[in-house]
Symmetry: none
Subunit: 144 residues, 4 copies
C-alpha cells in the first residue's frame, strides 16, 4: 500500500491488535496519525488504562517530529537527557521515549505518517506495530 | 447493549459513518469516549480536516462534563454566553457548542460514555450519531 | 466562626449539601478554598458530572481573584464581555461567571476564603452555599 | 465495599487521616478519584502546604493512568527516567513518582478509582492510605 487513508489506518490497527492477542500482550492502545501528526484512527483495548491514548499518540507524533522511530529516540534521549527534556516541553509533551512509535513509509521511503502503541513493554508495543504494519502491507522492508 | 467496550465503540463508529455515507454527508470524524471522557475509538474519514478529531472529542467530552447533549448545551450557551465562555476555558477547551455530542445511556439511563462527531453541519453530525447509536443497539428510545 | 480550617470547610460542605438535599437540588459539587485560592476540602455528590469540580473551583477561585461573589461578576461580565473574556484567559480559566462562588468573611469582613458550588442552576447553587455558610456560622449578616 | 461513591470516598479520607494522626504523620492532603480520574472528595489538613492537593491528585491520577500504584511507578521511573519524564509531560503533570498513590479495587480486582496522599514521606503517605482503605473496607487483601 502507498496511501495511508482511513481504511489503511484501520487495517494497521486491526493487524496490530491481532498481533498483540497472538502474543498475549497486555491490553494495548494503538493510534495511526497522518504525516502532519493528526489522528486518522485509534482503538483502546478493554482493560488498557485511560492514559494509553495519550502515550501512544506521543509516540506516533514524536516519531514524526524528530523523523525517527521512538526506539532510536529513546536511545538518543538516554545519551542526552537535558536536550530531549527540553524538546519534550517544547513539543508540549507530544513525544515519548520508548519503543512503539514507528514511522510509516511508502515503497520510496517517503513518510506517510506514524503508528503509536502503548500498553505492554516498549519492546512488545513495537513488535506488535511492526507486525501490524507488515500485515497491512506497509514497511515491508523492515524486519526487526 | 449495555457495555460500552471497544467492540461496541467500533460498532457505533461504523454505523455512524454508514449513516453519513447514506445521506452523503461531508467527511466526518467520530469518536467514542467512556464515562470518564477517555477515548475508546476514533475514526476520521478521508477528506475531513485535521482538527475534526479535536472538535469531535470536545463535543463528546463536553456532553459528559455538563451531563447534556451538545444540542442542549449550544442552546444554553447562546442564552448565557459569558458563563459558557468561562466554562470552556475552565475545561481546557474540552467542550464544543454545536449538535453532535451525544450521551450514551444504558436501558436504565445510566451514562456509559458519549459520542462526538464533526465534519458537516451540527444538525447533520448529530443525526449521523443518533442513527449510529440506534443501529448499534444504544439509546433505542431516542427518536430524533 | 472566624477560622476557615479543614473542620470548618467540612462543616460548610456538609451544610451546603444538606441544604441541597432539603430543596431537592440536582447533584452538586462543593469546594472550599483558602484565602490563597487553594482547596481545603471538596465533595462531589453521586450523579454530579465529572467537570463539576472544575466549575465549582473556578467559581470559588474567581470570586477571590476579583474580590466579589460570582453573582456580581456574572453581572459585570454580561455588561463587559470582552474584558472579562480576557480576564478568563489571563486567569487560566480559574473564574466562572455564574452565581455559586461566594466569599467567606469573618465578623470584621476580612476574606478568609471562598466556597464554590456547581450542579444545579447558578441561583440554586448559590442558595445552597449561602445556607451552608450560615449553618456553619459564617457570613451571618448575609441574608439573600 | 464495592462501590466507590461519595460516602465511601469520605470514609476512606476520614480513615486515612485517622491513621495519619495515630502515627503522628505530618499534615496530609488526601484525595479520592473515580475510575476516570475525576475527584470525588478531598481534604487538606491544617498545616499542609497549599500544593499538597496537586501532588496528591497527581499520585492518584498517575496510578490510574499507568495502572499501578505510584510505589511501583517510582521504581520504574528510577530505572527509565527519560521515558517517564516524557510521560509526565504527555499527561500534563498528572502523575507523581512517589509512594502514596494507590489503586482502589473491588473484590474481583476491578479498578474502581484511586487514592492519593501527600504531606509526609512517600512511604508514610502510602501507609496511611493503605490503612485508610482497609478501615473503609477496600483492598482487604492488601497487607503492606
Amino acid at each position: 500500500m502507498t496511501a495511508l487513508n482511513l481504511a489503511a489506518a484501520q487495517a494497521v490497527i486491526e493487524a496490530t491488535l491481532a498481533s498483540a492477542r497472538a502474543r498475549a500482550a497486555r491490553p494495548l492502545a494503538v493510534i495511526v496519525v497522518d504525516a502532519g501528526g493528526h489522528p486518522l484512527a485509534f482503538a483502546r483495548e478493554d482493560g488498557a488504562s485511560f492514559a494509553r491514548l495519550d502515550i501512544a499518540r506521543a509516540k506516533a507524533s514524536g516519531a514524526l517530529a524528530m523523523d525517527a522511530d521512538t526506539r532510536v529516540l529513546a536511545q538518543r534521549a538516554a545519551g542526552n537527557p537535558v536536550f530531549f527534556q527540553s524538546v519534550t516541553v517544547a513539543l508540549g509533551g507530544q513525544i515519548a521515549f520508548s519503543p512503539g512509535g514507528v514511522l510509516v513509509r511508502d515503497a520510496q521511503g517517503l513518510v506517510l505518517g506514524a503508528v503509536g502503541a502503548s500498553g505492554d513493554t516498549g519492546d512488545c508495543d513495537e513488535e506488535c506495530v511492526l507486525a501490524g504494519l507488515r500485515a497491512a502491507g506497509f514497511n515491508q522492508e523492515m524486519v526487526p
